[in-house]
């Protein structure tokens, strides 16, 4: 059957759907809070039905009917094979590198894929305090593939984050090795509402790989604090089908807790 592509989607919705495409049915994925959870559950309901979720609060392989509000939402253990403890998930699974994909977000993400979710300004006299690491540092340190979802704003993507909460490549290709991280060359993928970037392990820097429909390279440059290199031929992100959008809106986020847009308002 031919795919029925939709024109009636927001860029935020497509950002979530594009991020979900990096998840395969064979992956074990550690869920965090926010849009990453929406992307992961969308993957489970569409192309990756056998994906295995684990959650830091202790839930192991739950089947989530809709996107929970937090990692400790009472729905988080739904149909899980085990509701265990934080140590079991972050210690026994993540720290031992038994998890394939970690989904993270943050206040700032820089060209090396470092994430700041703690402070803006000097930490001794901070301008703004964010929640802090949670499970993110351990996930960024030990998981071989990190997916980051973030709305694309210049101030969010500086040359260097003001505080490394969760390490990317730190300061270059050998940054992680020098720091002593055993997982020294993880894949890092950043999906925004303008584009997709992926880390080049040889340079330790994010490179532009795909653009959202209608977005130009210049538009990405205008809205990014660093200048990502272009990787090969820049492709356009595939638009969602009607069916995918219906699943996202009616099943994954039925109360519109995460995704407000459903019309053309964000399309450029």
């Amino acid at each position: 059957m031919e795919k029925q592509y939709s024109e009636n989607y927001s860029r935020e919705e497509l950002m979530v759907i594009e991020a979900s495409r990096f998840i395969k049915s064979t992956d074990t994925v550690i869920l965090g809070t926010g849009l990453p959870v929406v992307a992961a559950i969308f993957a489970q309901k569409t192309h990756a039905p056998d994906v295995n979720f684990v959650v830091e609060s202790g839930s192991i392989d739950p089947i989530l009917p809709f996107a929970p509000l937090t990692v400790a939402d009472p729905i988080i253990g739904h149909m899980a094979v085990k509701t265990g403890s934080l140590r079991e998930v972050l210690g026994c699974l993540v720290q031992r590198c038994l998890v394939d994909i970690g989904f993270l977000g943050g206040a700032e993400i820089d060209q090396f894929g470092n994430i700041n979710s703690t402070y803006i300004g000097d930490p001794r006299s901070p301008k703004v305090r964010f929640p802090g690491s949670g499970g993110a540092n351990c996930i960024a340190s030990c998981v071989p593939r990190i997916l980051i979802i973030s709305v694309h704003e210049k101030r969010r993507f500086p040359v260097r984050v003001q505080f490394i909460t969760s390490p990317g490549y730190i300061d270059g290709p050998d940054g992680r090795k020098k720091a002593g991280l055993k997982m020294d060359q993880p894949d890092i993928i950043l999906v925004t509402d303008l584009c997709v970037m992926q880390i080049n392990p040889d340079t330790g820097r994010l490179e532009l790989t795909k653009l959202m429909p209608g977005i130009t390279i210049d538009k990405v440059y205008e809205n990014t604090g660093f200048k990502p290199k272009l990787r090969g031929k820049i492709e356009e992100v595939e638009v969602p089908t009607e069916r995918e959008l219906k699943t996202l809106r009616d099943e994954v986020d039925p109360d519109r807790v995460y995704l407000k847009g459903s019309s053309n308002q964000q399309k450029t």
Binding site: A72, P74, I76, S85, P123, S133, G134, G135
Partner: protein, 308 residues
């Protein structure tokens, strides 16, 4: 005399806090964001105005924010302070930004590892995370040695971070079931609490219901932690409200949003919340009554049933 006691430990929240929480205590905090926060016990600590507290845990949530907002906390040592989709813990955020409170930041695995070291009576423990992060580059003025990076003695190429054991003076947790000597059942996700409880010098547990010891003796795999680690058992229905207790009731979106609104506004609006919902409530049941009483909690029980 053995420190382990099999005697009856049932008491009121007021008695338990009076007996086990002191000015300057390091308090272990159970619960995670909107689930099983020990709110009734936190209310009691606020009413008894225990000062200069250090709060420690993984995800410090609304019960931490209340204690910070009441001006009782000098330091938080944890993985994170926040309420997930409900937003920041605003009193925590403001106290840090205005430099009224110290924080010692780690990540969740490091904190639970520190409790694991504490519960086993070993002085420190290695973790693989933290390397290369600024979490290691900053520390609170009052913290002594925060960490040490060493080479694995059996493999010199490998580096790990050593962190000190954490054994809080007193831990407050809310659970589903306990018996009168302190055997505890946590249902659903257990977060960092099994390690935290066992690591603590004393633990106050509030529970939805007190069951017979025979409940545990005839189903011993139900025991999350045995009585050895527990010092006080407080029976308090809906003791985690407005956060959820799995199997019993869901979280109250309206009240959490209302609290967030007051906490964000601060000043007079926040003081009004604290007066109306804590200081002017003689008991936690009075607080529940103010929040909508039987009608409200029945609704939250139905919401939980729908999930199960």
């Amino acid at each position: 005399m053995s420190k382990v006691s099999k005697k009856v430990k049932v008491m009121t929240a007021q008695e338990a806090v009076k007996k086990f929480v002191f000015d300057g205590s390091v308090i272990g905090m159970g619960g995670q964001n909107i689930s099983r926060c020990a709110v009734a016990l936190a209310h009691e600590i606020i009413k008894q105005s225990k000062k200069d507290l250090t709060l420690t845990g993984c995800n410090l949530s609304i019960h931490m924010d209340l204690m910070v907002g009441a001006g009782l906390v000098k330091k938080c040592e944890s993985g994170l302070g926040g309420l997930g989709r409900f937003g920041a813990t605003f009193q925590f955020k403001r106290a840090i930004e205005e430099k009224r409170m110290e924080t010692e930041d780690f990540d969740h695995l490091t904190m639970v590892s520190r409790f694991l070291a504490g519960e086993m009576g070993i002085p420190f423990i290695p973790v693989r995370g933290l390397l290369g992060s600024d979490i290691l580059n900053y520390q609170a003025a009052s913290t002594g040695k925060k960490f040490e990076i060493i080479s694995n003695p059996w493999n010199q190429q490998e580096r790990v971070v050593l962190v000190p054991a954490m054994d809080p003076d007193v831990t407050i947790v809310h659970v589903q079931k306990a018996d009168e000597i302190g055997n505890v059942l946590i249902q659903g996700i257990a977060n960092h609490e099994p390690e935290l409880i066992r690591a603590s010098k004393t633990t106050i547990v509030s529970c939805e219901e007190i069951v017979s010891t025979n409940f545990f003796r005839s189903n011993s795999d139900y025991t999350t932690v045995p009585y050895h680690y527990i010092d006080a058992v407080v029976e308090q229905r809906f003791g985690a409200y407005p956060t959820a207790t799995y199997g019993y009731y869901s979280f109250d979106t309206d009240h959490i949003n209302y609290y967030q609104q007051c906490a964000r506004a601060g000043g007079e609006e926040y003081r009004r919340y604290m007066n109306e919902y804590i200081y002017e409530c003689e008991t936690f049941d009075d607080f529940l009554e103010k929040c909508g009483g039987i009608k409200k909690v029945t609704h939250l029980e139905r919401e939980m049933l729908r999930l199960m």
